[in-house]
Symmetry: C3
Subunit: 205 residues, 3 copies
């Protein structure tokens, strides 16, 4: 079980770093820019969570292996992208797995620090989506997550389900599995059917 969690953790870091590298690549950044954007995409959410909760040392200061995984994943994309066209759908499926894992990891970290259910849910959401928001801000784009098919909604629904199951006394690993599956299914539904949330409409004067 524990080795599955370690695998998912590094897997999430790697795919989020790849999404950062690709976004930076579309802006024609140099390799340093690509690495910075990739690291912020994969570690920004966890860093923001830890800094706001005052949970020092932050995740990658405590364990620099996260940095090396993120840098390696970004380098792979930097090199590969010169030769092959990366399949967007594959990346979106990986990203959905990363979202599911990060959200629940962030939620559980906040709980382990003694925070209430609402703060834990928000911290899970922040861990899952803040990296992507910072990535887009750095690349001078309005965050994709604010405009895209069901993304944060999936994270919120999965996080809330986990809290409900936990409240009902369901075993931790079962609750975790069901919550992650919920996030994955909702997010992939969004990807494959192009579902979006209602947009803000201004009444015409």
């Amino acid at each position: 079980m524990s080795s599955v969690i370690v695998f998912l953790d590094f897997f999430g870091i790697a795919v989020f770093a790849m999404s950062g590298a690709l976004t930076a690549g579309h802006k024609q950044l140099d390799i340093f820019g690509v690495l910075v954007v990739a690291l912020i995409a994969c570690l920004g959410g966890g860093t923001l969570r830890d800094v706001i909760l005052g949970a020092h040392p932050v995740i990658w200061v405590a364990n620099p292996a996260y940095l090396y995984v993120g840098i390696s994943a970004a380098m792979v994309v930097f090199v590969l992208a010169r030769f092959v066209s990366l399949p967007l759908r594959t990346l979106e499926v990986c990203d959905a797995i990363g979202l599911a894992f990060f959200t629940l990891a962030g939620l559980q970290k906040a709980q382990s620090l003694g925070h209430s259910a609402d703060i834990a849910l928000l911290m899970g959401l922040m861990t899952g989506v803040a990296g992507g928001i910072l990535r887009d801000v750095l690349c001078n784009e309005i965050p994709l997550i604010f405009q895209r098919e069901i993304y944060a909604t999936a994270a919120i629904a999965g996080g809330a389900l986990f809290l409900v199951l936990q409240g009902l006394g369901v075993a931790g690993s079962v609750a975790l599995f069901l919550a992650m599956a919920t996030i994955l299914v909702l997010r992939l539904t969004g990807v494959f059917f192009g579902l979006s949330l209602p947009r803000f409409l201004l009444s015409k004067p």
Copy 2:
């Protein structure tokens, strides 16, 4: 007195959340984007202040009611904007009240943590304006506050007046009232007369 302060605090949160929701709305964000931008607009200044001062738990982790007020205010705007054209002037008056209250609340929090007058003044300013700056950065705009009629200047003037009155031994509630009135009057003068600060001019080569 204390219930007035609680009211002003939540009132400030609500109007800043509304300003965030409207800015996000002009960018056609979806409802999740609107909520995130609204929360960052109303809580970003206080969060940044608390994180920089190392004052954990940060304001809304200590009291999640702030989150609910911000979310509710943004939802009201999200729904209302479909039906009515929101009066800009009304919002700007509310925003001026929020600015006045947030600036002095931030200043006093820094003082209560034992910081000197200059750091307290800067923290008051940060509490009042950083949310609006982050809101605009997230929406991919140059912050309005950097280009607008007297805004930060009003906050600085009111904060400085409070420190001077305090130094002269004036009673806290009187100093607070005069400082808030100063911010309000200066800011509304800016709104209604369109006054601006001098811009940066480059000499032509």
Copy 3:
């Protein structure tokens, strides 16, 4: 020796504040915007480092003199720019000195807090370049550092050299001098010969 360090510290703050003021000026910000961007350019890197490491009080809360130096330098640029055309090359040379000093100051601060070599190197880099990144994000630009001739590379090379010399038992002041000289020479080579890192290339589908 120690007075040289204090001088370099304030010199770095001043030149980074000037770079912020000039960037803000090109965007026609008002004087408040110019001051905020200047302060974030000169203090953003150190603030981010201290907040991530949980090293409170952060640098300018501990010593507000940094604020006054940054504000003064920005005001000088704000006034001077109306009358004279500022020589870009001079500014870039000053900026290179600031980069060299900030990188090594940040690296040594992280070491003094007991962090490992890789985290110290990253913190040095962050101290040297994060202010410039935040400056450009606030001005709604893709960070120049992501697209420019050798900049971060110079900081990384100098920081790494310092760590190697330290590991070899070279005296601290000698290692410091050689590392700063390396950053300066590399950065100025980039400036005067227009060298750049390879950009991200996408294979054409």
